[in-house]
Symmetry: C2
Subunit: 177 residues, 2 copies
């Protein structure tokens, strides 16, 4: 078993934290092996950020993504850059406010207004990634909800845990439909 998830967006959208939480939860709570890789370019301030997570039932000896099982894109560029990692059964998860999915309409797609949901919950777009993480957890069969929530709570600033859990739960609910 080898399961590949990509989080792709712009700087500041929390893609790296999303990757870290997912990889950590998979190993710590779900007893899998995992790797996460981030690439940075010289333009990284406000530029692209991508986190690649690989989950496996054995040690991951090749951390480069091949084809993604899930692609999460919080920006249009974020999706466009990942076209090369799409296979027939890739599931695409996007923030519908920012990403047009016309070009990938033949793939299974989940859309939600992650950023707006975050705004409603915390008066800030900052937890859009947590809404997306909740959705990814519901869609994937490889991540336990409890493990993701516990790992998330350890990785967000003190005092923001409760609202982040709320954001995650909303995404989970939307992904379960």
């Amino acid at each position: 078993m080898r399961y590949e998830i990509v989080f792709s967006g712009s700087g500041g959208q929390g893609m790296i934290l999303s990757g870290k939480i997912t990889a950590e939860a998979a190993a710590t709570y779900d007893k899998m092996h995992s790797t996460q890789t981030q690439s940075y370019g010289p333009e990284s301030r406000g530029g692209m950020t991508e986190a690649y997570v690989i989950i496996s039932d054995e040690p991951v000896d090749y951390p480069e993504i091949t084809k993604a099982d899930i692609i999460v894109a919080l920006s249009q560029d974020g999706l466009d850059r990942q076209i090369r990692h799409i296979k027939d059964d890739t599931i695409i998860v996007v923030d519908e406010e920012f990403v047009n999915t016309a070009e990938v309409s033949k793939y299974k797609t989940f859309k939600a207004p992650f950023t707006n949901i975050s705004r409603e919950i915390m008066n800030s777009p900052i937890s859009a990634n947590m809404v997306a993480l909740g959705m990814v957890t519901a869609i994937s069969n490889n991540l336990s909800k409890e493990g993701m929530i516990e790992t998330m709570k350890k990785n967000v600033p003190n005092g923001t845990e409760e609202k982040n859990v709320k954001a995650f739960e909303k995404g989970f609910e939307l992904g379960s439909k």
Copy 2:
């Protein structure tokens, strides 16, 4: 140019944060391309943690480490696991309180009591990794001191910046000798 740095230690020693800061600083301040990869095993609580950073003057298309230019080990296991990544001119950086370097005595080695230095500065071992980062910055010719410090300040908890800079500066001083 391709420069590979490994941070290897136990859970809680901040190896992942060290990798993140290094990769981010290289891209944001030093205008390089970089990747960082972490592996997690099912035993990751208190178990091994390793962060692999690759810095390059062109996009990194192969994020797997081959042979390391610098190996930072904050635990004996951390060093032992990295033996396979040593080449003739690898520089080995260890916390001398925890790591015996007899087995790697033919390689260039820098030793310092990172954990003790952190204890002296912050009454806590928590910034041992920052002392090590300072030393790595002094040893490597590929990272600017200013970029590393600025990136570090953005990545440590609010209110701890000053002490972390002090820890970094101490490591930098020891690495400059």
